[in-house]
């Protein structure tokens, strides 16, 4: 597990180090994913770059328009417990609270969770459904990528040599929109998601004006369920329509079979949890706990 440990104090220092060491350097933020990868010899980086000393990367703040600006080093637990986030983007706080245990959430960062790029990442579906954008800083400057396009494969992102994820921009939620993140896992938050579904919808007198549905753990990356969204938008949300949308989401998902679940079961669960999520955000189910949750 031997490596050299570097602790840059500015973003410029960090990106310069990455550029210099090419593929040989790994970023450490909280470390909850990286340490395990190194210990099990899944990766053997000669250099580990700790960006935790760089100031100005851990903010969770709202701008004047009500957009949420999250620094890449924002601690998951802070997203979960922030009163502002709970009030203005509750689905983000809810999703953050589903990531592992409190001890993991106390150290894990949003940037780490997204850059580790597990298809099952708990924070990704909700952010994607909210239309989040990722600000990337590199030797060539800054660029912004829609979060949905940030992931390119299991464990892979669009980050090029020398780039780091610096910040997330989440548009404001309108007052008549609702969001939910449902995670299906063997033992709840402690386990990796078998299926994760985030839905954000804006309702207007029974009509679904806007629906965004994002799925986790059922494809090589977190993904949008666009066919499901299209079925719902502009329509009155009847039980039948919601069922159809859920079927559509299942059909467009691309799950695999692994030690946690089979592809067939995952596909079936996409249908179940998408249905529940849509019912939740379109006002058909009022309280948390009637169908989906594990705690009776």
């Amino acid at each position: 597990m031997r490596f050299q440990f570097l602790q840059p104090l500015t973003i410029q220092e960090a990106t310069a180090l990455f550029a210099e060491y090419d593929g040989e350097a790994k970023v450490i933020a909280g470390g909850t994913d990286l340490i395990n990868l190194i210990r099990t010899k899944a990766i053997r980086p000669p250099y580990v770059v700790d960006i935790g000393r760089i100031p100005g990367l851990d903010h969770v703040r709202y701008d004047a328009n009500g957009a949420l600006i999250i620094g890449a080093l924002a601690i998951i637990r802070n997203l979960e417990t922030s009163n502002d986030v709970k009030q203005r983007h509750p689905v983000i706080a809810q999703a953050a609270g589903q990531l592992g245990s409190v001890a993991i959430r106390n150290v894990g960062t949003i940037g780490g969770n997204l850059c580790h790029a597990s298809p099952a990442a708990d924070t990704a579906p909700a952010l994607i459904a909210l239309g989040a954008k990722a600000k990337i800083i590199g030797p060539a400057g800054e660029r912004t990528v829609v979060l949905e396009d940030f992931f390119t494969g299991p464990g892979q992102t669009v980050l090029q040599r020398g780039e780091i994820l610096a910040e997330l921009y989440v548009p404001p939620m309108s007052p008549d929109s609702k969001g939910v993140y449902l995670k299906h896992a063997s033992r709840g938050a402690a386990d990796l998601a078998i299926v994760g579904v985030a839905a954000v919808a804006t309702m207007d007198r029974g009509i679904c004006r806007n629906a965004k549905i994002a799925l986790g753990a059922v494809g090589p990356t977190p993904m949008r369920a666009r066919n499901a969204e299209t079925l719902l938008e502009g329509k009155e949300t009847s039980d039948a329509l919601i069922g159809q949308a859920a079927e559509a989401a299942a059909a467009e998902s691309r799950p695999i079979t692994d030690v946690r679940a089979s592809a067939d079961y995952r596909r079936e669960m996409v249908q179940v949890f998408t249905r529940w999520a849509i019912r939740r955000v379109t006002g058909k189910e009022q309280e948390v706990g009637s169908e989906a949750t594990a705690v009776l």
Partner: protein
């Protein structure tokens, strides 16, 4: 290449040479002989290594020692009671028979302390959710939950 770091552990500054890849749990157990913090999986799943960093529960097996500089680290050895040598949680674990083999116990007590510091009056469901980072194979958790709730109850009075 070992580096000299100062780690503040249980209100004491410890100066030690550490390799960059050493985790906090390794340094506590092997270099500082604070073996109360246990090693169960080294993967952050079992919670036996739980310590408090700036008052928050952390898996010390996933925390690089070098990142722990400048933080207040509290281990089971640093836990003190208000009215005596035992912290109320330690007393409760004894009184309520929440200890069997004892290997998970320090990690559980630290997790419970952080939990009650943040949420002094949890429901039983909240306690159980809050323990989802701690594995116990002996007890079935029943008396552990009972012990934690009893401390919350006592603190209310």
């Amino acid at each position: 290449m070992k580096q000299l770091v100062t780690l503040r552990i249980n209100d004491t500054d410890e100066e030690i040479y550490v390799e960059p890849w050493w985790t906090l749990s390794y340094v506590l157990r092997e270099e500082l002989n604070l073996t109360g913090t246990k090693e169960g999986c080294n993967g952050g799943h079992c919670g036996a290594c739980t310590v408090l960093i700036d008052g928050k529960a952390v898996m010390s097996c996933l925390y690089l020692a070098m990142k722990a500089q400048g933080k207040e680290i509290l281990t089971i050895e640093g836990l003190k009671g208000h009215n005596g040598p035992l912290h109320p949680l330690q007393e409760a674990f004894i009184e309520h028979f929440a200890v069997q083999c004892g290997y998970c116990t320090p990690g559980l007590i630290m997790t419970a302390k952080a939990m009650l510091d943040e949420n002094p009056n949890p429901t039983e469901e909240e306690v159980r959710e809050g323990l989802n980072g701690n594995v116990c194979r002996c007890t079935g958790y029943t008396k552990i939950v009972e012990a934690i709730l009893s401390v919350a109850e006592k603190q209310k009075l």
